[in-house]
């Protein structure tokens, strides 16, 4: 038997032209990259070049392993087919290069047989993936995919490259009939259909077509969606390593402008994000605003900003070069509308599900910052919230001195009663002022007393954590509140802080470190779960009927706290818990995050209605929540939709009832 191998560039006179073609492709490719880099460099500095090891790990985990993409089973697999096919075929081509140009003889013998088989099979897998993608995009046409000019080119191009690849393989095999043909099953099958006399001619033709199409493909990468093959891993590499969802701190004292008015005021990384979007629409699928007919789609937002970057690019590059002053062209009112920007609940679903690690929320907050801090333009209802935060340290503008009034008539230890507590209990504005949420505070006091926890509250000295201010773009008020609270916490010597509000939890845990405040923060669901586990709280089982838990965005997606609240409910449901249609990392916001709690919801259907309908569909009797905003929003939804059969209850209240 002959040693299995093949003659490279068999039958192709003038094959050296491939190098010329490759050179052209590379030049076009490089120019494409240069054009984008120039645009990104219009952005502001952002330190994303540190921690190389960690960044590489993130890139491998999220990128190479396709973790985010595979969250969606079917088309995740289809993408995996294209992705793996592309990688294997690229490696195969690289091996050809090694042998042809570096004279490293590897493509012979046993290795060659496996090489043939693997490339042949992955070629097939790649082809199937492309065919699936074509069917989905052009025939099934799901809502989240829209067809742009690029799509008309790319999938057919890839399809043609694959088909010509197989045809030229088949033609070669038909002409040479190698003994080891069975190692290339697809090629062999095609060879069987080719007339041997015409095989050589067909091969030659196909080879040229295949080569030129491939070179076009390479050159086309930076100008098309194919760019994502480079952008996405790169964007993962540059992904924020800060606590999830942490918003940037602004230097208010030494800045002339605040937030993002014009496109170049984004950081280079934020502009880089825009080019990383592959338009898969996963963000839009998960977005509570989009799904309740608000004008916001995270995908559209990114694409509109990308278009804005391209539109503003030439002018900005010119002024950058000449050193002239930039005449700002505001994004809001042009590429993005006010309604889009204010519709966001900062629930993080878009970001969580983006396979390209695009950071949407910071962009929206940056736009809000410019609107609030520069132009004082925001939904009118926020006026009262901002004033309340400034004068009375709470967004409802209730008298600051009445913050501890909810404790009247019940036993709650204040720092004055108990100056050295193990836990400082940060009650939060909702827990202190909102009638519905006050019940949670009372229930938690009962639980803490029953379990003999050594705690104290700050009383009237507590101020809002600042979440509604920061998320609505009012960084000035946020910093005022954050600094005051950090100072207060330090004065008390507190190390551990408990809170029943996921918004306070997130801000204190993830954002107070920006103000030199490092504290251990514990959500009450974690503490209660721990008290149950350690036997300090005894709860009767089987007390709740059919129950489900509604994930709070700021607990779940922001902090991966999915189980503690579920464990608490399970102790009272004999271990059974129903899940709503959206749960865990795909949970659907109540509509109250991102300071939306303090704004009217005029557009589309109401987010809380949509969410409570899921509970109704699941025929849930008790819907447990672990956030005061969720509690208020979903209770309102029960009332408004007349679904009185569903009891929306805070987990602390459910537990306290059983004590």
């Amino acid at each position: 038997m002959l040693t299995p191998t093949r003659e490279l560039y068999w039958n192709i006179p003038g094959h050296l032209l491939v190098y010329a073609a490759f050179l052209v492709a590379v030049i076009v490719f490089a120019y494409g990259i240069y054009r984008r880099v120039r645009l990104w460099r219009l952005g502001q500095p952002d330190a994303r070049f540190d921690q190389i090891g960690k960044r590489l790990l993130v890139m491998i985990r999220d990128g190479l392993a396709q973790a985010a993409v595979l969250r969606e089973k079917v088309h995740g697999m289809a993408h995996m087919a294209i992705y793996s096919g592309m990688i294997i075929l690229t490696i195969g081509t690289f091996l050809v290069l090694l042998q042809a140009d570096f004279n490293i003889q590897i493509l012979f013998g046993q290795f060659y047989l496996w090489y043939s088989l693997v490339l042949d099979l992955f070629g097939l897998i790649f082809l199937l993936g492309i065919v699936f993608a074509i069917i989905r995009r052009y025939i099934i046409r799901p809502k989240r995919l829209n067809i742009i000019a690029d799509d008309v080119v790319i999938l057919p191009l890839l399809l043609l490259i694959t088909i010509t690849g197989f045809l030229l393989e088949g033609a070669r095999m038909a002409a040479t009939s190698p003994e080891w043909a069975t190692w290339s099953p697809v090629g062999n099958w095609i060879a069987g259909m080719i007339n041997t006399s015409k095989a050589e001619g067909l091969h030659r033709a196909m080879w040229w077509v295949h080569m030129i199409l491939s070179m076009i493909g390479i050159a086309y990468v930076p100008y098309s969606k194919l760019f994502h093959t480079l952008m996405m891993p790169a964007n993962m590499y540059f992904k924020s390593l800060k606590p999830r969802g942490q918003l940037t701190t602004m230097d208010l004292e030494n800045s002339e402008t605040f937030g993002v008015t014009d496109i170049h005021e984004f950081t280079w990384k934020q502009l880089f994000d825009l080019d990383s979007c592959i338009q898969c629409g996963r963000c839009q699928d998960q977005c509570p605003a989009f799904n309740t007919d608000k004008p916001l789609s995270p995908k559209k937002l990114i694409l509109d900003l990308q278009a804005q970057m391209e539109k503003r690019g030439p002018d900005l590059l010119k002024t950058k070069k000449s050193g002239e002053e930039v005449i700002p062209e505001p994004i809001i009112g042009d590429a993005v509308t006010e309604d889009e920007m204010w519709a966001c609940t900062t629930c993080m679903a878009c970001q969580e599900h983006c396979p390209a690690s695009i950071e949407h929320v910071q962009k929206i907050v940056d736009l809000r910052r410019s609107q609030v801090l520069m132009d004082s333009k925001f939904p009118q209802e926020l006026n009262l919230a901002f004033k309340g935060l400034e004068t009375n340290s709470n967004p409802w503008n209730m008298g600051a001195a009445s913050r501890a009034d909810w404790t009247e008539g019940i036993e709650v230890k204040t720092l004055a009663d108990n100056p050295e507590p193990d836990y400082l209990w940060f009650v939060g504005c909702a827990g202190a002022f909102d009638d519905t949420a006050k019940a949670t505070s009372k229930a938690l006091a009962k639980i803490l007393n029953a379990a003999n926890v050594n705690y104290a509250i700050l009383g009237a000295d507590e101020q809002c954590c600042g979440d509604p201010a920061r998320r609505s773009g009012n960084e000035y008020v946020f910093q005022m509140l954050a600094e005051a609270n950090v100072e207060m916490f330090k004065e008390t010597g507190a190390k551990k802080i408990i809170t029943a509000c996921p918004h306070c939890f997130n801000v204190i845990k993830s954002e107070y470190p920006q103000f030199d405040g490092e504290f251990e923060v514990i959500h009450h669901s974690q503490l209660i779960a721990e008290l149950i586990e350690s036997g300090k709280l005894k709860l009767p089982s089987g007390k709740l009927g059919k129950a489900a838990y509604h994930d709070s965005c700021y607990l779940g997606r922001y902090h991966d706290i999915y189980n503690a609240p579920r464990e608490i409910l399970k102790t009272m449901t004999d271990g059974n818990l129903t899940e709503l249609q959206h749960h865990h990392d795909k949970s659907f916001c109540c509509g109250g995050g991102g300071a939306r709690m303090f704004m009217e919801e005029h557009i589309g259907t109401r987010i809380n209605h949509s969410r409570i309908q899921e509970a109704a569909d699941a025929k849930v009797e008790t819907l447990g929540v672990a956030c005061p905003f969720c509690l208020v929003m979903l209770k309102d939804a029960v009332k408004e939709k007349e679904l009185e059969g569903i009891a929306v209850r805070e987990i602390a209240e459910i537990v306290a009832d059983q004590l």
């Binding site: 009262l384 209730m398 008298g399 009445s402 009034d405 009638d435 019940a439 408004e640």
Partner: protein, 321 residues
Amino acid sequence: MSAILVITEYKNGEIRKPSLEVLGEARRAANGSGAKVVALVIGSGIDGSGLGAYGADVVLTADHDALASYNPDFYKTVAVQAVKSQNADVELMAATDMGKDLASRIAAKLDAGLASDCLSLEIGDALTAKRPMYAGKAIATVAVKSAIKIATLRPNMFAVEGPDESKSAAVEALELPELTSKQTVKEVRSSSDAKMDLTEADVIVTGGRGMKDPANFVMLEELADLLGGVSGATRAAVDAGWCPQSDQVGQTGKTVSPNLYFMIGASGSIQHWAGMSNAKCIVAVNKDTAAPIMEKADYSIVGDLFEVVPAMIEEIKKIRG
């Protein structure tokens, strides 16, 4: 004290109730001292002779076409003339929008101390009054020591005297000075057919954030109509755009003192309380037992306002036959 001048206020030819209350208080103050009570009637073609039955010794009329509706310059000139002609050393008015405006101008003109919005009154060498401060969160006692003393009295706080038809007043016409004004009224969109001024209402039914939707206020209007009152609103309801700001009760709205005040779906924030704590009887309907109003209202029902209010309407209709 020689004479108390009461400047009365008319609406569509009828004297307004707060003016009768002021007249009653003037009568009571004058009774011990022998001072005369002069009622000044400013307007066009108004017959004020009936005021004798309500405590006036003299009715002084200022009758002129130009005085048909309130013009601060005309009214002020007339009032100053009346004070001088009657040698009045005390001048009283109702603390209505007109009363507050006019009294301030007269005080400045006569260099007189002015106590506004009084809840009670004592007139001796000084005029001593209790009046709300910080929108009723505190009650101040003020003493006016100037030669001419002026006070405006809060509606619904003083009793009307009479009518005692056996008493009549001498009617005199005031010699009118020349009337000039620095401002002209171009148009009046009278509220004669619109709802009653909240400050004068005996019954107010106020809705808050718990009303959820502007359409739901119809229910409150029905209850108010049934009891001869008007509907009001909290700041939250006004800020949400559900009600006009003229309906707002509270520290930055109207201060009211009706006989009966309903709080429907409103928690009773401190700034709201400031505007209505003088109500004689407060009824609250709220689903939340912890709402501040539940501790303060004379009567409260814990429950869903959308069930309770219609039931109240039915029950009141029933007992009224």
